[in-house]
């Protein structure tokens, strides 16, 4: 249920500062700003360990649900589970990799801004998912460190690692093109997908965003 609050002024865009500082390293100013942002927001909803249980695990998944994909995934907390464990919560999903020299931290920063915006509109029930292209290097610990450095590791954040076959499939479902490079990095398209509680993609944007609310009314209940 939405609460009618006038939109607060848009928060300072942190992404430029963090990009200049490069992945993983923050200037003291940026760190202070990020901390201030974190303490200003209301506590998110979700349990500390693992995703929330599905609303009705016995009911069959709708046939366009991406949670029909098989395979076990590891999250940054070291839990292992199939994608369908993410059922039951609206989620915004992107794909990247932690050793990224280009835009991937910006993808997380964009998710943070979406999150801030949604929380200020009363949506504290949304989860944020970052799926790695890079199972060779993105172990749970590496992902946890990455998440912590970007201050994007609260209970409503999930970072996932699957094998190369699973990565190819989820990218295909999300419409993300990617290519592993000789040096081990990945070139890829930048996509944010909003997924409903049953795993159906309901809206998608295909660039990094200046807009803090690209999903606006399109986010399902």
């Amino acid at each position: 249920m939405k609460i009618n609050i006038p939109l607060l002024p848009v928060l300072p865009v942190l992404s430029a500062l963090l990009l200049l500082a490069s992945c993983g390293k923050k200037t003291p100013d940026a760190e202070a700003e990020v901390t201030a942002t974190e303490t200003a927001s209301p506590a998110p909803c979700c349990p500390e360990h693992g995703p929330a249980a599905p609303v009705n695990p016995a009911a069959p998944l709708p046939d366009t649900s991406l949670y029909q994909l098989e395979g076990e995934w590891q999250d940054h907390r070291g839990n292992t589970y199939p994608l369908k464990n993410l059922r039951g919560q609206v989620r915004i999903v992107t794909m990247g990799f932690t050793h990224c020299e280009y835009v991937c931290p910006r993808l997380v920063m964009d998710l943070k801004r979406f999150r801030e915006n949604l929380i200020h509109q009363g949506r504290t029930d949304v989860g944020y998912v970052f799926i790695s292209f890079d199972p060779d290097r993105d172990s749970p610990q590496v992902m946890a460190d990455f998440a912590k450095k970007l201050a994007a590791d609260g209970p409503d954040w999930t970072y996932l690692r699957g094998d190369a076959n699973q990565v190819r499939e989820i990218a295909a479902v999300l419409g993300i093109n990617y290519q592993k490079q000789p040096n081990g990095s990945f070139s890829h398209s930048n996509v944010f997908a909003a997924v409903d509680r049953e795993g159906r993609i309901v809206h998608q944007v295909n660039t990094i965003q200046d807009d803090a609310a690209p999903f606006a009314e399109k986010l399902p209940k």
Binding site: G96, C100, S187, S189
Partner: protein
């Protein structure tokens, strides 16, 4: 769909992957009768990365023919979740196997359909079949490597007669039922119908980062793509390859197309790899 997709030449930034990701099963101990061993080697792709202008294609096995409707019928009989009335929409669109009469019935045209390459199958369905049979789809690099061959040469991309055969095929309308497998030409490696019959799915069809019309130096649009930068095509004569890259870029994984089928590939065991 009565005609091949009109693809305009794109000034595109593309990146090539040469590694196969073997996700399942064990390689065979000998070459199956319906596959051939492709020796592999160095390959200059149409889109060159200046840091790695040649890519290495490791030896691999490739189906001699595309998968037929008869083959695919056997598969869906064994795997009901891939039957037309049961498949999840995530994995195949509403035209999946629409040319069959029923889930397990090729219909009155069965004599023509059975030996013809199966079409109207999605990437997911093709992969499921491959996993059931041999393990995987060919990678883009493997397909292009094998596809560079003509009847008498492993790399005929510079030859007018090779290009003419392909471009002539692109100019034809799609028949209601494709010709049977083995009806085009047998290439240098002993592989049939890589050109002239149906387009074919590959494992990494979603590896191209096509930026469309670009008047700059070909660098990637950083808002849409994260990555090391671009390649430009260096061989404008190879229009056929442009068509294939453009076509693959237009596909989504659940798409089914009237003239799009597939064949299987497989890794080799080390002993077979080292044989001359």
């Amino acid at each position: 769909m009565k005609s091949l997709l009109p693809i305009t030449l794109l000034s595109a930034a593309l990146l090539i992957n040469s590694s196969a990701e073997n996700a399942c099963g064990e390689p065979p101990s000998s070459v199956p009768a319906d596959m051939v061993r492709i020796a592999g080697g160095s390959f200059t792709p149409i889109y060159k990365n200046k840091d790695q202008p040649q890519i290495e294609v490791a030896p691999f096995l490739l189906d001699i023919h595309p998968v037929t409707n008869a083959d695919f019928l056997e598969f869906v009989r064994a795997h009901p979740k891939w039957q037309r009335s049961k498949v999840a929409r995530l994995f195949a669109d509403e035209n999946y196997l629409s040319h069959w009469a029923d889930d397990l019935d090729l219909g009155p045209e069965r004599d023509h359909l059975a030996p013809a390459p199966v079409t109207r199958v999605s990437w997911f369905a093709a992969r499921a079949y491959a996993a059931w049979k041999y393990c995987r789809l060919p990678t883009l690099a493997e397909w292009e490597f094998a596809g560079a061959a003509f009847t008498d040469s492993p790399d005929a991309r510079d030859r007018p007669e090779y290009n003419d055969v392909i471009l002539k095929w692109y100019g034809q309308t799609t028949p209601d039922i494709p010709a049977p497998v083995g009806s085009t030409f047998r290439n240098f490696y002993g592989v049939w119908d890589l050109h002239g019959l149906v387009w074919e799915w590959i494992e990494d069809f979603n590896s191209a980062l096509v930026t469309g019309e670009s008047r700059e130096d070909g660098s990637l649009d950083r808002r849409r793509f994260c990555g090391a930068g671009a390649l430009s095509a260096t061989d404008a004569r190879n229009y056929a390859a442009f068509m294939r890259y453009g076509f693959r870029s237009s596909l989504s994984a659940a798409d089914t197309v009237a003239n799009l089928g597939f064949r299987c590939a497989r890794d080799l065991e080390p002993e077979i790899k080292n044989k001359p």
